[in-house]
C-alpha cells in the first residue's frame, strides 16, 4: 500500500476547496440582481463538493496512470484529485471551445479519456460503466482498477445493485465509493434507505464493505488502500461508504431550509480547518504554510479561470458536430 503523505493530502484538499470556492463566487457573481440559473459566464446547475474533499483525496492517493473513475453530478473533487487538467475542466465549465469537451458537456459531463475520467448527471449511471472499464483492464491483464463514485442517494438506484452483482460475479477490479453526505437534495438518508450503512449491503453481494466515519482523510486512505490492493491483486471488488459532509447546498441557489438545525453546525464539521489543526498540533504544518498553501492553490485556480474566460466560445454551428464518430 502507498504511504500516506499528510502534507500532500492537506495541499490537495485545499486545492480542491479553493477551486470550489472560486467557482461558487464566479457562478453567483453575474447572476445579479435577479438570480437566473441560466445567466452569467457559468450557467446551468452547479453541484459543488466542498466538505467532501477527504473522500476524493483519500481514495485518489492510491490511483495511478490508467486507473479509471466514474463520478456523479458532483464531480470536481474527484476530477481534480485524479489529475484532470484544471484549465481544460474550467474552460468546459465556462462552455468554451478549449474545454475538455469543447463546451458540449459542461460541469456534469466531464470526459477526460487520458485520465480515464468521466462523470454523469444521471444518478448511478457510472456504476455499471466502471464495471466495464474494469472488465477491459482485467481482459488486457493490466493491474488497473476502476473506481465508481456516487452519493448515498444513488445506492437506491437499480444500476447500483446490478453493478455490485456483476462486479462480484466476474471478480472485477472495481472500488465502489459511496459518499454519504446525509442528504440527497432534501431527502435525508433515513427517509430513503432501509439500512443505516451501505457497507452492510456489500455482504449481500459477497464482497467486503466498510463504512468510514468522521470524514477523516487518513481513515479513508486506509480503507481505500485495502480495496485498491485487493482489486489490483485480482481478488475482486469492494465497497467503501464514506460519511462525509455537504458543506453547501445541493446545487447553487438551494436555500436548504429543509436542513434545519443541522445546518448550524456545518462549519464546525468542515474537514479542512479540522485537519489543518491536527497537523499543526502534530508539528507537521505551520500557520505560515497554511497561508502559502492557500495562496498557491489560489494562483493555480486564478490561472485556470483566466484561461477559461480568455478562451473563445465554440462556433454555434459546431453544435451539429460529434453526434457520430
Amino acid at each position: 500500500m502507498n504511504q500516506f503523505n499528510r502534507l500532500d493530502s492537506y495541499k490537495e484538499m485545499v486545492r480542491i476547496r479553493q477551486y470550489e470556492s472560486r467557482i461558487l463566487q464566479e457562478y453567483h457573481a453575474d447572476k445579479q440582481p435577479a438570480w437566473d440559473i441560466g445567466a452569467g459566464l457559468i450557467p446551468g446547475e452547479m453541484h459543488l463538493a466542498a466538505g467532501q474533499e477527504p473522500a476524493a483525496v483519500g481514495v485518489c492517493a492510491h490511483l495511478k496512470k490508467g486507473d479509471a473513475i466514474t463520478a456523479p453530478h458532483r464531480p470536481h473533487h474527484f476530477a481534480l484529485a485524479h489529475g484532470v487538467d484544471m484549465k481544460a475542466m474550467t474552460a468546459e465549465i465556462y462552455g468554451r471551445d478549449s474545454g475538455l469537451c469543447r463546451g458540449k458537456g459542461g460541469h456534469m459531463h466531464l470526459f477526460d479519456p487520458e485520465n480515464h475520467f468521466s462523470c454523469s448527471g444521471i444518478i448511478a449511471q457510472g456504476y455499471p460503466v466502471a464495471c466495464g472499464q474494469a472488465f477491459a483492464f482485467k481482459r488486457r491483464s493490466t493491474d488497473n482498477v476502476a473506481v465508481a463514485v456516487a452519493g448515498e442517494g444513488a445506492a437506491n438506484q437499480g444500476a447500483f445493485h446490478e453493478a455490485l452483482n456483476l462486479a462480484a460475479l466476474w471478480s472485477l477490479p472495481v472500488i465502489f465509493v459511496i459518499e454519504d453526505n446525509d442528504w440527497a437534495i432534501s431527502v435525508p438518508k433515513s427517509h430513503s434507505t432501509a439500512t443505516a450503512s451501505n457497507a452492510d449491503r456489500a455482504a449481500g453481494y459477497g464482497i467486503p464493505g466498510v463504512r468510514v466515519e468522521n470524514n477523516d482523510v487518513e481513515a479513508i486512505f486506509e480503507a481505500a488502500g485495502a480495496a485498491v490492493d485487493r482489486a489490483r491483486a485480482g481478488e475482486g471488488p469492494s465497497l467503501i461508504e464514506i460519511h462525509t459532509l455537504r458543506l453547501w447546498g445541493h446545487f447553487e441557489g438551494d436555500a436548504q431550509a429543509y436542513r434545519g438545525a443541522e445546518l448550524e453546525t456545518v462549519d464546525e464539521r468542515d474537514p479542512i480547518p479540522r485537519y489543518a489543526k491536527s497537523l499543526v498540533d502534530l508539528g507537521e504544518l505551520t500557520e505560515d504554510q497554511i497561508v502559502t498553501i492557500a495562496a498557491a492553490a489560489d494562483a493555480e485556480v486564478d490561472a485556470a479561470i483566466q484561461f477559461a474566460v480568455s478562451s473563445p466560445e465554440p462556433k454555434p454551428q459546431d453544435a451539429l458536430l460529434h453526434v457520430f464518430a
Binding site: P43, G44, R96, G99, G106, H109, I123, A124, V187, S192
Partner: protein
C-alpha cells in the same frame, strides 16, 4: 364551468402554482389521490409542482421517495390498478432511461393486455426542456418519444390556466397520463423571467379537456402549430410579424396523445400554410406527425410545402451559444414564417 367571483377572476398565479393547486383540489375531493416522487415533500418539488401540498396533506399522502424510479413508478402502477389515483413525479423527463420499462411496457400496456379489464388511473408528471445550459441529460423534452408509444396520454400545458385544468382532467382520467411541464413555462423565480408563465387561474376546480388544441392567437396567413414553451416563442414571433403586416395563427396543441387533428386541419384549411415548431428532436417526432396530418387531410388546401423547426437531431449541448443554436426561438419562427410565405 362557472366562475363568478370577481376577486377570483382577477387572480393571477404561476403555472407551477396552478399545477400544485390542481393536485391539491383533487386530493381534498378524493382520498385515493396521493403524490410521490423525489423531493415532493417539504421541498415542494424541485420545480414547485407540489408547493404547499406537504403542509396540508402530510407525509402519508405526499411521499418523498428514494432515488428509485423503477421502484416508485412501478409502485404507482400497482396502487393505480388497485383503484388509487397516484400522481407520481419523475423529476426530469430525461431520467426516463432508468424506469422506461415500467412506463412503456407496463403502465401504458396493462389496459390493452388485460383486454380492457384493468385500468391504470395514474398521472406521471415530469419536467422537461432546456434553454438554461443544463446540458444533455437535463434539457430534453422527449414528448415525441412517449407519444410514439401506444397506451398513455401525453399532456403538455403551456400556461397556468391549462396547467390546472389539464392536471385535474389527468387525475380524473382512467388512463395513464404523462403530464410534461416545461421548466420555462412554470414561472419559477430562479429562471429567466417569463411573463407568459403567470396568468389568470380561477380558484375553483375546473377541467380542460385532454385532446383539444387551443388557438392561442388567431391569424390568417400561416398556421404555427406548436406546444409548450414554443407557444410562447410563437406568440412573440406573432407580435413581430404583425408589425410587418403578417398574421399567424398560433395553435397550442396542448396534448400529443390524443392529438387534435381536426384543429390542425381546420387551421390549415383557413391559412393554407403550416409551420410546425417543436423543442423536441426533429426526426420521427411531433413535427413529422403534424405535417403528415395536414398532408393527409388538407393536401389540396396547402399553398406551400409545410415546414418545421425542431432540434436538429443532436443531443442538447451545454454551452449557451451551442444550445441557442439548436433551440427554436422567436427569430427562427419569424424567418420560418417568411420563407413559407415566399415559397
Amino acid at each position: 364551468m362557472t366562475v363568478t367571483d370577481t376577486e377570483t377572476a382577477a387572480r393571477r398565479i404561476t403555472t407551477a402554482k396552478a399545477m400544485a393547486e390542481g393536485i391539491g383540489l383533487e386530493m381534498r375531493r378524493d382520498p385515493d389521490v396521493f403524490v410521490m416522487g423525489e423531493d415532493v415533500g417539504a421541498y415542494g418539488g424541485i420545480f414547485g409542482s407540489t408547493t404547499d401540498l406537504f403542509g396540508e396533506f402530510g407525509a402519508d399522502r405526499v411521499i418523498d421517495t428514494p432515488i428509485s424510479e423503477t421502484g416508485f413508478i412501478g409502485a404507482g402502477i400497482g396502487a393505480a390498478v388497485e383503484g388509487m389515483r397516484p400522481v407520481v413525479e419523475l423529476m426530469f423527463v430525461d431520467f426516463y432511461g432508468v424506469c422506461m420499462d415500467q412506463i412503456d411496457n407496463n403502465m401504458a400496456k396493462i389496459h390493452y393486455f388485460s383486454g380492457g379489464n384493468v385500468k391504470v388511473p395514474m398521472v406521471l408528471m415530469t419536467a422537461a426542456g432546456g434553454g438554461y445550459s443544463d446540458a444533455g441529460q437535463h434539457s430534453q423534452t422527449l414528448w415525441g418519444t412517449f407519444a410514439h408509444l401506444p397506451g398513455m396520454k401525453v399532456v403538455v400545458p403551456s400556461n397556468p390556466y391549462d396547467a390546472k385544468g389539464l392536471m385535474i382532467s389527468a387525475i380524473r382520467d382512467d388512463n395513464p397520463v404523462l403530464y410534461i411541464f416545461h421548466k420555462g413555462v412554470l414561472g419559477l423565480g430562479w429562471m429567466t423571467n417569463n411573463p407568459r408563465a403567470t396568468g389568470h387561474v380561477p380558484e375553483d376546480p375546473y377541467t380542460v379537456p385532454i385532446g383539444k388544441a387551443a388557438i392561442a392567437r388567431e391569424g390568417t396567413d400561416v398556421t404555427v402549430a406548436t406546444i409548450s414553451l414554443s407557444v410562447h416563442r410563437a406568440l412573440d414571433a406573432a407580435d413581430e410579424l404583425e408589425k410587418e403586416g403578417i398574421s399567424i395563427e398560433v395553435l397550442d396543441l396542448r396534448s400529443l396523445v390524443p392529438l387534435d387533428r381536426e384543429a390542425i386541419l381546420d387551421s390549415v384549411r383557413k391559412t393554407h400554410r403550416l409551420l410546425v415548431v417543436d423543442e423536441d428532436y426533429q426526426s420521427f417526432g411531433m413535427t413529422g406527425e403534424v405535417i403528415t396530418t395536414a398532408v393527409e387531410g388538407a393536401f389540396d388546401y396547402l399553398d406551400a410545402p409545410p415546414a418545421r423547426i425542431a432540434i436538429p437531431d443532436v443531443p442538447i449541448p451545454y454551452s449557451r451559444v451551442l444550445e441557442q443554436f439548436v433551440l427554436p426561438d422567436a427569430d427562427k419562427i419569424v424567418a420560418g414564417v417568411k420563407s413559407l410565405l415566399t415559397a
